[in-house]
Structures are given as C-alpha cells and as structure tokens.
Symmetry: C2
C-alpha cells in the first residue's frame, strides 16, 4: 500500500479495470445487475447481483474473459445524456441499482449524466477512463466476498469481486512477491511454528492461549511500555473484567453497544457485562476520593483484557480476537493541561516505537481528526473546549514534527484525536497508537476537582493506547519481523548446540552463567545430530546459535552463528555476554 | 487462636459453657429444640431450633441468665442409661434432634448412652464436663448466625449462638483486646484510609478497583513471587478469562459447579462461562504440542483473575470477592518426578514467606491431607500412584522440616495435598499456600507424553499457589502489618516534608535523585502547616518521613523520622538512599 501508487492515473487504470471486469461478468451472467465498481488502494472491485453464488473457479474464467477484452482493444467512449433519456436506457437494460443512482443525481440537481462504453458494455459513470482496454497490462482477480447494496444489511445481498491492477507487469510481479512474503510471515503460521500461542476447540474461537514464549512476548511489550510510561508519570491501576450494566448506562455505552457485549449472569438478578473498554471503570477510581487542581494531571495506565462479542467469521488469528488486552491509559487533567499531556503521550509513543525501530521517517504517519464545523450538532461538549483542544493537538503535532494530516469530520462525537499509523516491513499500514480527547464521559460520571477558587470543575479525560491491543500488536510485529525478533524481544535469545553430547555439561555451565546475567538461553540436550540441532535452531529463528565443541569447552568460548549471517566467529563467553546485553 | 489454648481442659470448659448456654436458652424459650453444642478453638457454640429469630439484644439477656446459672454453682452430673430408656426420656422432653442421634448410636452398636445434668437441664452428651457451673469464670456471647441441622440445607433451619470462654478473666481480657486491635487493623478500614482500593456502586459488590497504591501492592506481591518462581523453573503463560462450557464438561467441573459459575452469553448460541479456576485452561497449553519424557517437568505459572458467583452476604472487603486473582501454577511431570517437584514448590513458598517474615518457627504449620484407606472408593486414580505420592509428600514434609500434621481422609478425590497455614501478627491462622497432586485431570483431558520406550503415558499434574488469592492475601497482610508495610513493599517509602514552601525545590531535587535509583518517594507540596504535613504522613503509615529545612537543603541531607521511632537523625541524602535500597 505504497501511497505513491495511488496517483490519479493509476486510479483511472484501476477503475477502468473494474469496467472490464463488469464487461466479463455480463458476458458470463447476462442477467447480472450492476452495483458500483470503484478503484481501491491496490486495484479495484465491483459489486454484482448474480444468479448464483460464485465459486473460486469463476475468477479464473473471468480473468480469461478480461484478458480477451483487453486484447480486443475496445475504446472507452464517453457519452453525456439528459437524465430522462438515461433513465429510460437503464430501464431498458434492466439495471435498477443504476436507476437508483440516477434518481439521487436528479435530486441533487443534475440534469444530465455521463455513460462510458467499451465494446457492448455501457455503464453509468463519471469517469475518467483509460483510452482503450489494451492499456490495462497488469491485473489479477484476487478474491470475492459478500456485500450489500449501499453497504446496508437491509438492502439486497451482492457479491463483490476484487482485483489488483498496476501500471506495469513488473509492479504486479512485485505485488505478487509481496503476497508470497506476507503469506510466509502470516502470524498464524509463524505463531504455530514458533510455538507462541494456541487455540483450543474446548476453550473457543477468538480466545487464544499463550505458551511461555508467547506470554514472554506479551510481557516484554507490556513491560517495555510500562517502563517508558512510568517515566512520564503514569501509574498502574487494576480493575475487574466485569461490571454491573449500570456503569455503561451512565457512560452511554449500554444504549449503543449492548448487543455487542458479552452478558454475564450468576445466581442473582444482577445483570453484569464483560467490559469491552476500561474508561468507565477508571473514572470510578478517579471518583473514589476528592481531587484538587493540585492533584491533576492524574495518569492511570493498565494492561487489561477486554471482551468483545466478535462474530466467528470476523476472527483472525490473534489479530482479531474476542479477548483483547489493551495497554490502556486515561489522563484526567485541567483544560489548560491538555496540550502538555498530549505532548507527554506523544513522547511515550515515540520512545516505544523508536525502540522497535518503527519511528523512522516514512515509517508512520499521523491523522489529526477534528470536528466538521458545518455540523456542530454532531459533537458534544463546550465548543470553546473543542476549539482549544483542536488547536492544542495541531500545535503538538507541529511542534513534535508529526507531519499530521488534518481530517475534518473524523473526530469522535466526544472529542478530537490523533491516530498513529505505522508501516510494517511489507509497507502495510496499521493504526496502533491513539490519543483521544473526551469532553463527555467526565460530565456523564459527574467527575470533578476543586479549582483554585474552591469551586467544582469538570476535568478533561484523555484516552490513550500505545500498542493498542497486545494481541493485534503481536500479530503485527510477528509479521513485521517475520518471527525474527530483535535480541531484546526474542523469547529465546540464544541456544547452545554441543557438537556431541559430551559437551552438554560445558554448555549448561555456560548457559547458567548467561542466565544469571538475565539472558534467555537454552541448551539443546537432545540426542539429535549436530546438523539437525542446527536446523532446529534455525527454524526457531533465534538471534544466536552457540556451537560448543572441545576447543570451546576448554577455552570457555562459543562459536557464534548469528541469524542471517554466513560467517561464524569464536569469542570468549564473556564477550558474547556483553554483546547480548 | 493460640494452639496451646485448646488444651483438653479448656475444651471441657468450653463445652460446659455450651451446656450453660443451652440451659439459659431453654429458660428463655422452653419450646426450643436442641441441636449440638461443641467447643471451638476459642469458645463454643450451640445450635437451636427457636420459635423466633434472635435479635442482638437476646445475647445480653442470655449472657445474664448464664451468669446467674454460673452463680448458682450447679453440679454437672453424669448418668448412663440404656438406649431404650434414653429414647423414651427424649421423647418425653420432645427433643427430636437428639432422638436422631440416639438412633444413629444404636445403629452403630451402642447399647447405652450418657446424659449430663446441671440444675434442671439435661443433655444427651458423652462429656466430659467441669465439676460445676461456677468453674466457668470468663466467657462472653459474641454473635449468632443461621445454620442447618447437620449442616444440610435440606434439613431444618437452626440458629447458632457463638461464645468465647477462657480459663481466666485475664485471658478473656486479652482476647477482647485482640478484637479491638483486629478492628483497628480491619483491611476494609485501612484500605480506605490508605487509599488502596475502592468499590463502586455502579461496578458492583465484590468487584474491587485498585488505586495506584493498591495496584502497586498487587504487583509487588505478584512480581516477588514471579522473581522467586522463575529461579525454580516456572514459566509464565497467559489464558483468557472465559471459556466455552465444553472445557468444564471435560474436566468435570461443569456437573459439580455449574450453579456457582458466572455464565456468559453473546449473540451466538455458544455457552461461555467465566473461569473459576485455571487448571483446565493450562492443560490446553500443555496439549498444544507433543511432549516427550525429556520435556518434563513443565511448570506453568500465571497471575490471573478468576470469577466466582459468591452471594452478596458472603462478600467481605477484598478478603472474599467475586473477582479473585490467583498466583496459580501447574506442573506436569512424570510420576517419578513428583517428589522433586513438590520439594521445588516448598522452596518457592519458603523463600516468599521468609521474605515476608512469616516463615519463622511457630509462624506456620502444614497439614498433609492423605486419603482414608478405609474408603478407597472415594478416590480416583491408581492406588499405586497414591501410595507413592503420599509417601513422597510425607518425605518432602520431613526432609524440609515442615513438621506437617497428617490428616487422614482430608485428601481431595483427585489427589493428596500439603496446605500451609500461616499465623498473622494477631495469631490468627490463614490457609494461604497449597500443593495439590492431581491424578484425574490429566486423564480426563487425555494428556500424554512419550516415555523412553516411545509409549504414551499420562503425566501427573500438580496444582500450587503461593499467596493463593492476591486479594485475600492483601487483606491478610494489610491486617498483619496493620498497614505499616515493610520498606520493600510500601507503595510510598518516604515523603519529603519541607519546613516551609521555600524548600520544596530542594525536596523535589532530592526526590528526583532517589526516584532515579528506584525509590518510591513523594514531596508534600501542599501549603499545609509543617505539623499538619507530619500528621498526614504519619496517617499514611510511611516507613520514612524526611524533613528538609535550610540546614538540610544546604547540606543535601535529610532529617529522618522513622516510623515507630521517637528520635530523629539527620543524614546525608546518599546515606539515606543506601539505607532504602
């Protein structure tokens, strides 16, 4: 998803590819009804109402038909028509979804519309398009899925066919290679190969269980964030995983999300729910004792698991789960502290992603979501606070050189926010860290502090996450590092491989010494051949493999095979220990 | 609950007190039906079927009547009677619960029974008793509660009246003083005063929320255990807080405990439950990959929250909660490794409680619960494994000098166990750490490992907890330390108190230096008077209070007021830093 790929020219090419797809679909299913077919970041899709459900083989056939259409070098011809005439035409060819679009255009005041024609295919379309089908040189249909007309589950069910299209065959090849690499790095595959997590039929889908290695990764991420955030004044708190529904009635979540919650019932009549977020609980800790302006800001942080009733079809490895552990934080501050607190969080985020090597130029971008001033009724809270907050966020973004993209109308109803999007090693983007201002919950929970004049005032609440969901974050970095974790993060940093079982005691002695210094090392005590031991260690993608034979055992040294390097070197154990730390 | 108090003589005195109580009750309610009235660790109780529910005032009245009976110096007289005659007598005085006891005695082969008489009161009783009521010199009725005949909820409801009795008035006075002290140390009171945890009406009862200070205590306990257990080969794992009920159908818990579980429902038909324990989940991590005899023992540990649907009336501060966090551990090992693994756990427990200062002589005792060999049908698993395991536990207890009390018939149906009971500063006993063998779950979950011969074998599972439930453990140590936590455990180790606001900067500078070295220190920046600041710091029960005036600010020193000490001393900051660490 390289941003520069999505130039207007490429978008035109991709949109034309969707017309060529529709041409092929109508050839295969003359009764097909056309939805819409836009360009996407990497290609295009088109929605159809079809007489039957597609099967994977259909994609091959359609691709073949598309290639044939490309070869025919059909010209794209634009034709402007009065609306009434256009409607009559669409009625004749029985495309009722397009008629719905015409109706809307008419209501919006249009008196004429444009059609694009290639070969026998005609589509209501504002264009632009490429000159002729032969210009589409590099494309591929990738998959299909169910969709709804206008994305509305109450409207007719459609089938969406996806494809990719590029300017050159070379670009397509690069994309295909990327897919192969992505498949190799798939966190579900690597998670199983490296023994990081598992699922149990008896526990349920979307509920991962983490092995010692996977649990280590979780802790290492959470502890690293904790270590950083403690320096910035965050204090850990602890809340239970359930609550009476009363808490969410006050916060307003009950009304909106009650159907997406896990409901909990015991012997009594009390209705409990599993928490899908932590902010309402944290307000109760804030509210537990009286606060003065001098006590603010108060910065709570907690790594805690939330539960969301995702549908089984939406679950994906540990990337989309029902038990998601958030590195959540909530700041309660005075309005005049908002800017400094946001800056403080930016520093936590920067320090963490810098440690991961993901904060270089081009590694990330930030969106600053502000309100749409044309629809003030959509936002709750004092407009003056909004103005100040949006300005603060902009200033922080500028001063911290975040190069933020301001997006009007993307703010939540309760406040503006900064979202951090990170690119992984394959260039894919992930929204991970976030800073969100909230003018609403403090009021709903009647939180207050006493100001300098002894009056009660409402604090501002700032929600923040650094990694977001630990599970999703782990999925991202497993794929980012292709399972080759940096030394500080690797659950197993090095493995001793004795050239013969005789040298196991020497290995264990040296391993014990490294462990004492905090290193995570193991010894292969199996009776496998040296070759097999080395291959096993390589499969485990360990940073270091330490071969020990007679020479090393005597000299208390190790022969290091570093991950990804051909040459080996023999160094004293002490030197290796230093390198590890 | 000093063990030496419970000498046979004292037990006799206390049992006689229960007769005197029953005498008083029959005087007040002539229609009362007598249940049973044994001695307890500190006194006695007696169960009655009464014509009305007791009110607190009744206790005063009954106590007065008892004192009157004591004064009358009624002799206790024993009278042996043939069973038939005894039954006729009990029918005459309409004591049907006693007749039920007679029937059982007859079935057990007794031909005669004994009665004890004092004044007009006669009770079926095997004795012994004191000579006369005047020997009861120091007693007190404490409270009453509901009970059932034979403790069976299906049998008639009774009312149980509790009292304490001691050999001397002095002993009673000591006991009363202990109650006052216990009340002062009540963890609910101290928890609120020290700001450690809170409850929210909107979140629900039994669901505590921990403030930064309380969360620190939780972490410090869990981290200390983790640091110790890591040395002994335990590896952390992570499991979600819910599961499909299938998991408990396999483990057998569903059938037994389904009514005590929190049931979880989402949009789908899947029935989830909140986990009330962790062992079944941990078996699924073990089962995730093939294991060989060389991989064992495998030691999983996790600090994770379980949920149990306790009735509101059973909840008590953080001592009895609905969200209980266990420092749970499960070892999967070969039968021949059981002894070594149990010893390993004993070492973890010893190291932890030694750090807390609770493992001195007399601070704890251990019960070794083995099976009742007369009822082998009550226990599952290979008797040979049981024999070996019980012997191993006994050997470990002996070799580790645990001075364990062997209790026949107290083993769980799935295996024998060692329970550690610790005495707190007030002499009260708490069952905290446990080591339990389990021959059943590995079979139910079809867990296996490959032995030396390449055959599948079933591992033994050992359950263990060091602190037990973190919440209950915190309640215990809050009361044990009366909120005066040792330096290593105190959330706030020291507070700087500037003699005037001018010295706040000097305090903050010194505080920053200590913090950098890992100390948990704060500065009182309020405008309160020095006296008030000192009093506040004393209320917070901090280990150290550091007064800083001109002299100290100049010399970079602090005047230390140590908790519980009268004298102050001024030392260089560096010296204090060293003392802290």
């Amino acid at each position: 998803m390289n941003k520069s790929d999505n130039t207007p020219e490429l978008a035109t090419l991709r949109h034309s590819a969707s017309h060529i797809l529709a041409t092929a679909v109508l050839d295969m299913f003359p009764e097909a009804k056309l939805g819409t077919g836009p360009a996407t970041d990497e290609g295009f899709y088109y929605d159809f109402e079809l007489p039957r459900t597609l099967i994977p083989e259909d994609l091959k056939l359609l691709e073949k038909k598309m290639k044939h259409i490309v070869k025919q070098n059909q010209k794209f011809e634009k034709n402007e028509e009065p609306i009434e005439q256009a409607r009559e035409f669409l009625q004749k060819i029985q495309q009722h979804f397009k008629i719905e679009i015409i109706d809307e255009l008419e209501q919006a005041g249009e008196s004429s519309v444009s059609f694009y024609k290639n070969g026998n295919f005609v589509d209501l379309c504002s264009g632009p398009h490429i000159d002729s089908t032969q210009q589409l040189k590099a494309f591929k249909l990738t998959h299909f899925s169910a969709s709804y007309w206008r994305g509305d589950a109450e409207r007719p069910s459609l089938q969406r066919i996806y494809g990719v299209a590029f300017a050159t065959a070379d670009d397509l090849k690069k994309w295909e290679e990327l897919q192969v690499e992505a498949k190799k790095r798939d966190h579900r595959k690597l998670g199983a190969e490296l023994g990081l997590f598992t699922f149990s039929e008896q526990v349920g889908s979307g509920l991962p269980l983490f092995t010692p290695k996977g649990a280590f990764l979780r802790d290492q991420i959470a502890d690293t964030i904790q270590e950083i955030q403690a320096k910035y004044g965050f204090e850990k708190v602890w809340i239970p995983h359930i609550t009476k529904k009363d808490l969410y009635e006050t916060s307003g979540h009950w009304e909106k999300f009650k159907d997406d919650l896990f409901h909990v019932k015991g012997k009594s009549d009390t209705e409990f729910v599993m928490k899908p977020m932590n902010c309402p609980h944290h307000t109760q800790i804030f509210a537990a004792s009286a606060k003065s302006y001098r006590d603010l800001p108060i910065r709570y942080a907690e790594t805690t698991t939330c539960y969301r009733d995702e549908l089984p079809g939406e679950l994906l490895g540990i990337s989309r789960v029902r038990a998601l552990t958030q590195d959540d934080g909530h700041i309660f501050c005075r309005p005049d502290q908002v800017k400094e607190e946001c800056r403080n969080i930016v520093h936590v985020i920067r320090e963490f992603y810098t440690k991961l090597g993901m904060f270089g130029e081009g590694d990330y971008w930030v969106s600053l979501s502000v309100r749409d001033t044309k629809t003030p009724e959509k936002y709750l809270g004092d407009p003056k606070n909004w103005d100040a907050a949006e300005q603060y966020l902009q200033e922080v973004a500028d001063e911290e050189k975040l190069n933020a993209k301001r997006v009007e109308g993307e703010a939540a109803f309760y406040g503006p926010k900064l979202d951090f999007q990170f690119r992984d090693a394959l260039g894919r983007q992930w929204q991970l860290a976030t800073i969100q201002l909230d003018f609403v919950q403090p009021e709903r929970f009647k939180l207050e502090y006493t100001n300098e004049k002894g009056e009660a005032e409402t604090p501002v609440m700032i929600h923040r996450a650094v990694a977001g969901s630990l599970e999703r974050f782990l999925a991202v970095i497993i794929e980012h590092f292709a399972g080759q974790f940096p030394v500080w993060l690797a659950p197993e940093q090095a493995r001793f491989v004795p050239v013969a079982t005789d040298f196991i005691p020497a290995c264990e002695e040296m391993a014990a010494e490294l462990k004492k210094a905090g290193a995570r090392v193991t010894v292969d005590t199996s009776s496998d051949s040296l070759g097999k031991q080395v291959r096993n260690a390589e499969k485990a993608k360990l940073p270091y493999l330490l071969v020990v034979g007679e020479k090393e055992a005597k000299a208390k040294s190790v022969t290091i095979r570093e991950r990804g390097k051909e040459e080996q070197e023999t160094v004293p154990l002490a030197e290796f220990a230093e390198r590890l730390s």
